[in-house]
Each structure stands twice: as structure tokens, then as C-alpha cells.
């Protein structure tokens, strides 16, 4: 393999040109080194994935070996060819030259072919492996308990699912094979050179330690500046994110000038350290280039001297010139490839951390399904805390007979939503029992339990698909007519029809093309479609104005008939018709009764209620 001797040529990798997601190598950006905590363990886990395609990976390694070794033969044959030419005018032995060149052509052809097949196969296997990892990861995410999502930043999980997996892919399809190729090239070249002339080998390698030393020094320095740059970049990006997200507030307070000042300062800081980082890291290129050129000169001169002395032929010089050039590049790259593999491993480790998370409590073996639920729900002395030692609910007792509406009221943080989290078994209780139709919910199959619960939550979840499909989410097998009926009951019909494409309007990823109230209506329609025995409405109408809410409530009332309903609301008006109102405060039920009873009791509920009514009377 003959290479241009300039060091700063781009490294062409099999995956070059991939979308913006890929890491361009010309960026001159090298992140700070990432270390794996348990490289061995991570490799073992990765191995499980490789093992499934052992054969193909083996093939890839054989092909890499073959193509690299074959390419090493090239320069040797160039030398032989040159030797034939040294015979001079009229004396060139064309038969011999022809044979050499045929071999040379064959070697290069075969090498290129093997290289191509290797890339072809590798891309396939690597993508298969990464595909498998991604699928497993997603399936795993589905099984994880809510606790996992509540205790982690979504950004962090997201980055593991995307960047880290992509990192594994890059490592697999590029760095790993290239590392093998680089090592073979270095060793093979060394061997070839020693075979041709040990003396010239020693001499031609004189400049290398010098170059290595300088580049290590530079790398050390630039790492320092890169860390600084990373820090400044993080600061600036943080500031950008915060300011732009709050841009409207910035404007209401006329803080534009002020934020410009801060930005300008941070920006300058980033620029200063950025220049240094880039210069320092860039130095490696010209330094390696000069080392290469000096080598070239030394080989030419010393080789020339040796050739005059009859120690070597001119062809050996020609071979050497090519070998030394081929020698320096992989040495530069090995360090880089190691870093890439390291960061790939670190990514893999972060991915496997998720894979190793404990899944949501498994059903007890043979837990029966619960179907045809009447809707009796009992909480017996239920206590619960999200963290050990901090109880959120203390000795809660609730009796809801089939078809009743139970309302939960109380200040924020009182534990209302927690009660919902427990009934759905998003979390498991610490003490007491919760029963549905007399069956402890921990003894029945979790999925069947959730299937008989219909939940409308504070946070709306709509995915990027049509309005129709979003509603159908409530019951996948329902017909279009049923979907539209549900929308009508939820009073969502009229605004849906006003959307550009009606029921077939595609929602943007986060449903941003709808107002908060409209999104709520869709999720309510979804719950209506699900037709559950037990209904849970967690502040479901909080983002809808009261008139719309009243309309929804009319629909809700007819929906709630025959179903056990739990309604959480901070607007008292919405719950006055409940069969029982539970006032929750500090994790305990402090009052219970009907609206009328509670008013007569003149307790906490009365206070809440009168704060709303005070000025009317």
C-alpha cells in the first residue's frame, strides 16, 4: 500500500461520509479521554453479542489479515522492479520485470478485493450487532420500573440510547478492524524492513522516537486545553440553552443587554481556549510531517551510501522509502484508534448499565389474569415511601365499591398521585394490601390489572402519528367509527375536524401543534375508547378551561357510570358529585365524606372550599 507522505491527509474510513451523526475526523476535536470502569466485564457482555455471529467476525479478521499482509508485499516488489531497472539502458530484463509486475498487480488486486469484501461483511455484521443491542435496549426500557425513569434525567437515558449505541457501532465497524490492520502493518513493515536490511532499518527508525516524544508532549498539552475547551463549551451551551428557553422572560425583563454581556464574556473565553486547543492538537500534523521528511532524507542518503558501498541494491532503497512512509501513519493512528475503542467501550458500559437494571417486579409464577372486573377497590392500611425511610403515605384506607366515584383532594405533594401510582402498580407498597375485586393486586398478572384500569394523567403522551392512531392507542383493535365516537364523547371531535387533515392530521413529535387543552382532550378520548372498569383521572382536566371542562365532565359522568372512578382535582367544583371525597394531607387521609358532610364538618375541606367561595356571599 503506497501512501502519500503528507500526514494530514484525511483518514478515509469505511464509514466516511455518514450523516451528521457520525464523527468527522477533520474536526480536530478530540474529546477528553473516557475511561471504562470495568473494561473486562463490558467486553464479556459485548462478546455475547459477537458470539452470535462468530463466523462472520472470524471471516472479517481473516480478511483484514490477508489484505494487510498482501499490501505489505507491494513495496518489496517495487524494490525488485527497481532493481531490474538499475541494469540501465538496453539491459532491462523485461521477462523478469513482467513476472514481478504481474505478481505485484495480483497482490494489489487481491488485497483490494479482500479489503472490499471485509468492509462489506463488516458493515453488515456490525449493523446486525448494533441493531440487536438497540432492540434489546428498547425492550429492556419497556420493562423497567417507573422508579428508574423518575430518578434519572431523560437526557442521560436518551444519550445512552443514541450516542452510546452509535459509538459502539463506530468502534465495531471502524476502529477495531483498523486497529488490527494498523498493528499488522507496523509489525509487518518492520519485519520486511529487517529482512531487507537490518542496518538501514535501525537508521531509518532514528527519527521516530523523537517524533513520538514530541507528539506525546503535544498530546499531553492539548488534552489539558481540550479539557478547558470542553468546560467552556459546556458553560456556554448551558447558558445558551437556559437563555433561549427563557427568552420570553428575558424580554419581559429587558435583560437582553445583560445576557449579551454574559454571553460575550463566555464566548470570548471559549474562543481563547479553543484557539489554544486547536493549535496544540494541530501541531502533531506538521511535526509528524517533518519527521517523515527527515526519514525520507535519511533513508535516501544513508541508503545511497550503503548502495555505493555495495551493501544494498537501489531497489532496497525504493522499498524502504515506501515502507517507512507506510510505517508512520499507523503508529499515529494506533493511539487514536485506542481512544476510539476506549470511548466505544465506555459507551457500551453505559448501555449495559441499563441492560443490567432490575426490571419491574415480575409477576409471581402462574399469577392469574384478572378479567371481567366489577371494580371493588380496597386500600387496607397502605404505607409507602419512594425512598427508604421517607414515608409518603401512612396507613391509608380506601373502600371503593363498584361504580362509585372517589375524589382525592389536597395540597400539592400531599400524596394524591402516589395513590394512583400504587393502584397501577407503578410502585409496590411497603405495608398493607390493595385489592381489586377482593384480590390482592400483587397476586394477579400485572398487565391484566393495568388493562382494566383506564388512566388519564396530568402529562399527556402523544406520539408522532395521526390523531386517529393516537386515540386508537386506547384500544388497538377498535374501528375508525369507534375512535370517532370516543372523540365525540370527549368533546374533541369539533377541534379535530378543524385541523388541516382532520383525524389524519399528523401530530409533531411532542404534539406541539396542539394546545395543552386539546392534547388533554385527546388523551381523554383515548381513555374513553379503552373502556376500562376502573377509571383514574389525575388532574385530567387541569389544563382545560372550566367551560370546556364542564362539557368534558358531562361526557365523563356518563362514562363514569358503572365504573369505579378515582378523580384527583384541585378544582373542587369538579368533584362535588363524588360518592366519597378523601382529603389527603401529609400522606394521610384526614377527612372523608360527601361534599355536604365535609362542609358541615367545617374542617380542612371547608377551608379549601370557602377560599374559593369566600367573596361571593
Amino acid at each position: 500500500m503506497l501512501n502519500d507522505k503528507s500526514v494530514n491527509k484525511p483518514q478515509v474510513r469505511p464509514g466516511f461520509g455518514r450523516g451528521p451523526g457520525g464523527h468527522g475526523h477533520m474536526s480536530g476535536m478530540m474529546g477528553p479521554k473516557v475511561k471504562t470502569k470495568d473494561a473486562k466485564g463490558t467486553m464479556k457482555k459485548l462478546w455475547k453479542y459477537f458470539a452470535k455471529q462468530k463466523g462472520q467476525y472470524l471471516l472479517v479478521i481473516i480478511l483484514v489479515l490477508g489484505s494487510t499482509l498482501l499490501s505489505l508485499v507491494g513495496p518489496l516488489l517495487i524494490g525488485y522492479g527497481v532493481d531490474v531497472l538499475t541494469a540501465g539502458k538496453g539491459l532491462v530484463d523485461f521477462n523478469k520485470l513482467f513476472t514481478i509486475l504481474i505478481w505485484m498487480g495480483l497482490a494489489y488486486l487481491l488485497s483490494a478485493l479482500m479489503n472490499w469484501v471485509q468492509i462489506y461483511v463488516m458493515v453488515g455484521v456490525a449493523q446486525d450487532t448494533v441493531w440487536q443491542i438497540r432492540t434489546d435496549l428498547f425492550a429492556k426500557i419497556q420493562t423497567l420500573p417507573l422508579k428508574f425513569f423518575d430518578s434519572r434525567l431523560h437526557g442521560d437515558i436518551m444519550s445512552r440510547l443514541t450516542n452510546d449505541v452509535e459509538n459502539i457501532n463506530n468502534t465495531l465497524s471502524q476502529s477495531a478492524t483498523q486497529l488490527i490492520a494498523s498493528i499488522i502493518t507496523v509489525l509487518g513493515t518492520m519485519g520486511m524492513m529487517l529482512y531487507l536490511s537490518p542496518v538501514l532499518t535501525l537508521i531509518s527508525l532514528i527519527a521516530f522516537p523523537l517524533g513520538m516524544y514530541i507528539s506525546l508532549k503535544i498530546a499531553g498539552n492539548s488534552r489539558k486545553y481540550f479539557a478547558g475547551q470542553q468546560k467552556e463549551l459546556g458553560m456556554l451551551n448551558g447558558f445558551i440553552e437556559e437563555t433561549i428557553s427563557g427568552q420570553k422572560v428575558v424580554k419581559t425583563f429587558c435583560r437582553e443587554e445583560k445576557s449579551l454581556e454574559t454571553f460575550s464574556e463566555d464566548n470570548q473565553k471559549l474562543k481563547k481556549v479553543g484557539i489554544k486547543a486547536q493549535i496544540f492538537s494541530g501541531f502533531i500534523m506538521p511535526v509528524m510531517s517533518v519527521v517523515n521528511n527527515i526519514n525520507f532524507a535519511i533513508v535516501a542518503a544513508v541508503g545511497g551510501w550503503m548502495s555505493v558501498k555495495g551493501m544494498i541494491t537501489v531497489g532496497v532503497i525504493a522499498s524502504f522509502l515506501n515502507y517507512t512512509r507506510q510505517f508512520s501513519r499507523p503508529i499515529n493512528e494506533i493511539a487514536n484508534q485506542f481512544n476510539m475503542i476506549q470511548s466505544g467501550l465506555a459507551g457500551a458500559e453505559r448501555v449495559f448499565e441499563i441492560m443490567d437494571e432490575k426490571p419491574e417486579f415480575e409477576d409471581n409464577a402462574g399469577a392469574p389474569e384478572i378479567t371481567k372486573v366489577a371494580g371493588d377497590v380496597n386500600f387496607n392500611n397502605v404505607s409507602f415511601g419512594y425512598k427508604k425511610g421517607i414515608t409518603v403515605l401512612k396507613g391509608v384506607n380506601i373502600v371503593a365499591r363498584a361504580g362509585q366515584t372517589i375524589a382525592l383532594v389536597g395540597p400539592t405533594g400531599a400524596g394524591k398521585t402516589t395513590i394512583v401510582n400504587l393502584l397501577t402498580r407503578f410502585y409496590d407498597i411497603d405495608e398493607g394490601t390493595i385489592t381489586v375485586d377482593g384480590k390482592d393486586i400483587r397476586t394477579v398478572e400485572k398487565d391484566s390489572l393495568r388493562k382494566c384500569l383506564g388512566i388519564v394523567l396530568q402529562d399527556t403522551y402523544l406520539f408522532s402519528d395521526t390523531v386517529r392512531e393516537n386515540i386508537r392507542y386506547g384500544r388497538l383493535e377498535s374501528s375508525d367509527v369507534e375512535v370517532e365516537n370516543a372523540a365525540r364523547i370527549a368533546n374533541a371531535d369539533s377541534f379535530i375536524l378543524r385541523l388541516p387533515e382532520g383525524y389524519d392530521t399528523v401530530l409533531t413529535e411532542d404534539g406541539m401543534n396542539l394546545s395543552q387543552g386539546q392534547r388533554q382532550l385527546l388523551t381523554i378520548a383515548r381513555a374513553i375508547l379503552a373502556n376500562p372498569a376502573i377509571l383514574i383521572l389525575d388532574e385530567a382536566t387541569s389544563s382545560v378551561d372550566t367551560r370546556t371542562e364542564m362539557n368534558i365532565q358531562k361526557a365523563m359522568l356518563s362514562l363514569m357510570k358503572g365504573r369505579t372512578s378515582f378523580v384527583i382535582a384541585h378544582r373542587l367544583s369538579t368533584i362535588r358529585d363524588a360518592d366519597e371525597i378523601l382529603v389527603v394531607n401529609g400522606g394521610e387521609i384526614i377527612e372523608r365524606g360527601t361534599h355536604k358532610e365535609l362542609l358541615e364538618a367545617e374542617g380542612f375541606y371547608f377551608d379549601l372550599h370557602s377560599s374559593q367561595q369566600r367573596k361571593i356571599s
Binding site: 478515509v12 531497472l85 479553543g274 525504493a318 392507542y473
Partner: protein, 575 residues
């Protein structure tokens, strides 16, 4: 891309010096093989050891000279690219600061952030790449061809075959590859989209027991992504083997035809050796140029997105005659105001709104979602400009008042609470940098925030995470209200800003506000009737029009919409 070219101007000296130094660098690289040829053809052929050593030393000298060029290129290219990206970033940020709400809505926060961060970085990379590679490759190519021609024009004819082969191969691969990669990107967005949706919607997924459904949805996205990615990567993966093959086979050709020429006496061995080196340099420079094209195409998208922001017209700005007077009384008149969002068709959001708010009055605005409440109050500080009619403050059209004077006398608490990382005090002082501590505490007390603030161990020095993550919704809203009160505004606008505050606290807040805000004209948008009972005027908005306006007592008598809302909240028996 061209539109960003002006950013190079301030640094044109360095930008020109870099390629000049590059010539030095490239020249030293090109000279080496020529000297090497001399060593072989003169030194070795004549057995002249002195000549060999002398030439060797010259070569080392040249190599060392080359490093000057190389380092210079690095220094200048780094300086220029970092400066340019800093300048662009600054201009972008400045531009966004001057955006009206309209432009902010149009671009979306996340997209603006990407433009400021990733896209600028892309530009920075292309500038470095341009200065380090894009200029180097053609230099190498041309220099190499010249050297090859001087050695032996006949042999250089080989290039006539190889260069087109390389160019065609690269072009085909890129032509086919580019569209593929944009599909890859789309499919990747799809995969990531499903992931993100599942993270944010995990409760619902679990509640509806839809893991299987989601798994299937993901599998589809994931499969599509894999298939197209394999196809694209395989295609592009051909580049290297093809390149190497062409290059190596042309070396074979050089040796063969070189051999013929040597045999005839037209050429010497050293020249053949040098020729091989030039050949590889020339061919590699084509590969580099292909890279530059790829870089450009990637950066182009970024450049377009940056320019789009930079070229957005600032639609709300001061006129020359605008008055700097600050608002003294706080009388607000709407005269026949209509409003429509730019680009939105259909009915206007507000239709012929006319009313007057006297100094010190409290005007409450009620209405269903989408009736235009928020839009109406956003017109007062000129976050949007009216489409028709006019808004007067103290009898002066708001468009004739300097934005800064206008907005610094108006305080507004937005529906969506935004706090910033820093201490609570830092956040409060957004309203007023120079307020005394007593003033700050007093305001916090009015906003019913003092008690919970002091319950934190660091009190007012408690550091808030980004967006105030460590506070509850109600707490955030109360801090936002306190922040607005710090301004001591002549006009206060509360846009549904107590929705997360529990009712008991809200009642106390209202009493305290009432006492503090004497002389301040106040607009309150609210959902609950209880929040607006005490207002001097209650405006009922319906589909962008004023359905009625009056006191609670008047409205309960005559306004059907109001009665509806009232009933919906208080239940029938209360009427």
C-alpha cells in the same frame, strides 16, 4: 454559505497567510522526491558519496523549513476558524435577543439552540478544514503534476487514464451516497423519535400495557434504519479499496513503462522512483478534494440554518421618533385592535377589541382556551404588534414609545414559569438589580414565597438548578410573581400565573397583592372565578371578541357566557 463569507473579512490577513505558508509546506514535500532521484541517479550511479551526503543534508534542511509552513498554517487556521465561529455565535445570539415573540414562536427553542451550538461548530470545522485541506489538496495536485511533467512528460501520460478513473469513481459513489445518507439521517431521527416518545410517555405506555405495541413500532423504525445504513455504508466503503487499487495499479504501470523508457535511455531509475511518489500524491489529493466536497455539503445545511436566523427581519423595533418617557400613570386604551399571527390564515385571533383600563384599575380576563387572552396581554408590552387598530398607554401609541422604556415599566408573569440557574436572590433581582434586601423580602412576602424560601437552609441564597428544577410548580410560580413585583411596575400582567398554587395560598396572595398594587394597573388572566372576583372590571373573551365587560355583579346578571363559567365552577346550588 456565501452569505457567511463576510465573517472572514476581519481576519483576511491570516486567511491569506495560511495558504501562502501552505505553499511552502507543499513545496518542501514535493522537492524531497526530486532530490532523492538525484541521489540515486547522480550519487549512486557515480559512486559519489560526498554528493549523496550533501544532498541528504539539503533534504533535511528543506524538511525543517517545511515545519515553519506547517505550524504557520495550523496557527492561522485555528485562529481564523475560532474567531469566525465566535463572531457568528455572537451575532446569532444578538439577533435572537432582538427577536419578537413571533420569530421565537416560528423558530422553536430547541431549533434555535441547535443552530447556536452544533451548526456553528460545523462552520468552525469547515473553516479549519478549508484552510488546512481544501487548499492543500489542489496545491499538491498541481504541484505533483508539474513535477511529474518535468521528470518525464511521456510517463505522465499515465495520469490521463488514472485521474478520470478516480474522479468518476468518487463522483459515482458520492452521487449515490449523498441521497442515501440523508435517508439514513431521517431514519435515525425516526429511531430516536420513538425512543424519546417512550421516555416521556412511559407512564402512559405502562398504563395502557402497550410495551408490545411500542416494541413493534420501534422494531420497524430500527429495521428500516439498519437496512438503509448498511446500504449506504457499504457503498461508501468501496471508496478506499477502489482508490487503493487504481493507485497501486498505476504504480505497476509506472514501473513497466518506466522500464521501457529506462531501457531506451530516456529515463533514469531514480526518476522512476520519484515518479511513483508523485503519482500517489496526485491521486491522494483527489481523495482529499472529495472529502472537502463532503464537508461542504454537510456544512451547507448548517450554514443555511444560521443564515436563516441572521436574515430574519426584526419586525418589532423602535422608530426614530420613539419617546423615551417612561409610563407615569398606567392608563391603557385598546382602540379597535385586531390581531392575527403572521402566516396564519383564517379568522384573526383578536377582533376589534376596544376597552379602557384606568390607572390603578384591575382588569381580569376570562375566557376559554384559545379565546385570545394571552394574545391580548402580549400586545401591551409589544411582544407582538397589532394587525389593526392601536393600543395607547397614557394616551401614547405603544409603537411610539421606546421598547426599553415601555417594557421596563411593565411587569409580566408568563403562563410558563422560567427560572434561571443561580440563587433565588439572583432570580428575584432580575426584576431590580438595585433593590435593598428589605424590599426584596417584602416583595417575596407579598408573593407568599418568603416562608418557603426561608425554610430552605440557604434561604435566599439557595441555588436553583437549571429552570428551577428543584422547586415545585407552585413555588416556581410564586418566585416568578415576586420577580415581577420587584420591578415596582406601573403595569402588571399576570397570565394565569397561579395555576399551580393551591387555593388557600392563592387567596392570601390576592389580598397581599391588592394591598401592594394600589396605583398599579393590573391585568389578570385566570381560570377560576374566585381569582377574579375582586377585579374592577372583568372582561369575558369569546372567540377573540369581548363578549362582555363589567363587574362580577353586572356580569352575573347579564352575561350568559359568564354565568356558564360561573356555574361550571361553583355548581348549581351556589347560584
Amino acid at each position: 454559505m456565501r452569505k457567511l463569507a463576510k465573517y472572514i473579512k476581519p481576519y483576511w490577513k491570516q486567511a491569506v497567510l495560511a495558504p501562502l505558508l501552505m505553499i511552502l509546506d507543499v513545496a518542501t514535500n514535493l522537492l524531497q522526491p526530486a532530490f532523492m532521484a538525484k541521489i540515486v541517479d547522480v550519487g549512486i550511479a557515480n559512486g559519489d558519496i560526498n554528493y549523496i551526503i550533501k544532498t541528504g543534508i539539503i533534504m533535511i534542511g528543506i524538511a525543517i523549513m517545511g515545519i515553519l509552513g506547517g505550524i504557520g498554517v495550523i496557527v492561522f487556521s485555528s485562529t481564523v476558524s475560532q474567531n469566525i465561529s465566535a463572531d457568528i455565535r455572537m451575532d446569532l445570539f444578538k439577533k435572537i435577543q432582538s427577536f419578537s415573540f413571533d420569530s421565537l414562536d416560528k423558530f422553536k427553542t430547541s431549533s434555535l439552540i441547535t443552530r447556536l451550538t452544533n451548526d456553528v461548530l460545523q462552520i468552525q470545522n469547515i473553516v479549519v478544514g478549508l484552510m488546512r485541506i481544501a487548499i492543500r489538496a489542489p496545491l499538491f495536485c498541481i504541484g505533483g503534476i508539474i513535477m511529474a511533467l518535468t521528470i518525464n512528460p511521456g510517463l505522465a501520460a499515465i495520469l490521463i487514464f488514472t485521474i478520470p478513473v478516480i474522479v468518476i469513481a468518487i463522483t459515482i459513489i458520492m452521487k449515490k451516497g449523498f441521497p442515501l445518507f440523508s435517508i439514513v439521517q431521517k431514519k435515525l431521527d425516526g429511531v430516536n423519535g420513538v425512543m424519546r416518545e417512550n421516555l416521556t410517555g412511559i407512564r402512559v405506555v405502562k398504563a395502557f400495557v402497550r410495551s408490545d405495541f411500542e416494541n413493534k413500532r420501534f422494531e420497524t423504525a430500527n429495521k428500516e434504519f439498519k437496512a438503509i445504513n448498511v446500504q449506504a455504508s457499504r457503498l461508501v466503503g468501496m471508496t478506499m479499496p477502489v482508490m487503493m487499487l487504481v493507485m497501486n495499479l498505476s504504480i505497476v504501470a509506472v514501473i513497466w513503462f518506466g522500464g521501457i523508457k529506462v531501457n531506451v535511455g530516456n529515463m533514469q531509475v531514480g526518476e522512476v522512483m520519484a515518479f511513483i511518489t508523485y503519482m500517489t500524491q496526485i491521486l491522494f489529493s483527489f481523495l482529499m478534494m472529495a472529502f472537502v466536497v463532503i464537508m461542504f455539503s454537510r456544512a451547507k445545511a448548517s450554514a443555511d440554518r444560521i443564515v436563516e436566523v441572521l436574515e430574519t427581519e426584526i419586525d418589532i423595533k423602535d422608530t426614530k421618533e420613539a419617546s423615551e418617557e417612561i409610563i407615569k400613570n398606567g392608563r391603557v386604551d385598546f382602540e379597535n385592535v385586531s390581531f392575527r399571527y403572521t402566516g396564519a390564515g383564517g379568522e384573526p385571533v383578536l377582533k376589534k377589541i376596544s376597552f379602557t383600563a384606568l390607572p390603578g384599575e384591575t382588569v381580569a380576563i376570562l375566557g376559554s382556551t384559545g379565546s385570545g387572552k394571552t394574545t391580548l396581554v402580549n400586545l401591551i408590552p409589544r411582544f407582538y404588534d397589532v394587525t389593526e387598530g392601536r393600543i395607547l398607554i397614557d394616551n401614547k401609541d405603544v409603537r411610539d414609545i421606546k421598547l426599553h422604556s415601555l417594557r421596563s415599566s411593565i411587569s409580566m408573569v408568563l403562563q410558563e414559569t422560567n427560572l434561571f440557574s443561580g440563587t433565588i436572590e439572583y432570580n428575584l433581582r432580575w426584576g431590580n438589580e438595585t433593590a435593598s434586601e428589605e424590599e426584596m423580602i417584602e416583595v417575596a412576602k407579598v408573593a407568599q414565597a418568603h416562608d418557603f424560601i426561608t425554610s430552605f437552609s440557604d434561604g435566599y441564597n439557595t441555588a436553583l438548578g437549571q429552570k428551577g428544577v428543584n422547586l415545585s410548580g407552585g413555588q416556581k410560580q410564586r418566585i416568578a410573581i415576586a420577580r415581577a413585583l420587584m420591578k415596582k411596575p406601573k403595569l402588571l400582567i399576570l397570565d394565569d400565573s397561579t395555576s399551580a398554587v393551591d387555593m388557600g395560598t392563592e387567596a392570601r396572595l390576592q389580598v397581599a397583592l391588592k394591598n401592594m398594587l394600589k396605583g398599579t394597573t393590573t391585568f389578570i388572566i385566570a381560570q377560576r372565578i374566585s381569582s377574579v372576583l375582586a377585579a374592577d372590571k372583568i372582561m369575558v373573551l369569546e372567540d377573540g371578541e369581548i363578549a362582555d365587560m363589567g363587574t362580577h355583579e353586572e356580569l352575573i346578571e347579564r352575561c350568559a357566557v359568564y354565568q356558564d363559567i360561573y356555574r361550571s365552577q361553583l355548581g348549581k346550588e351556589a347560584v
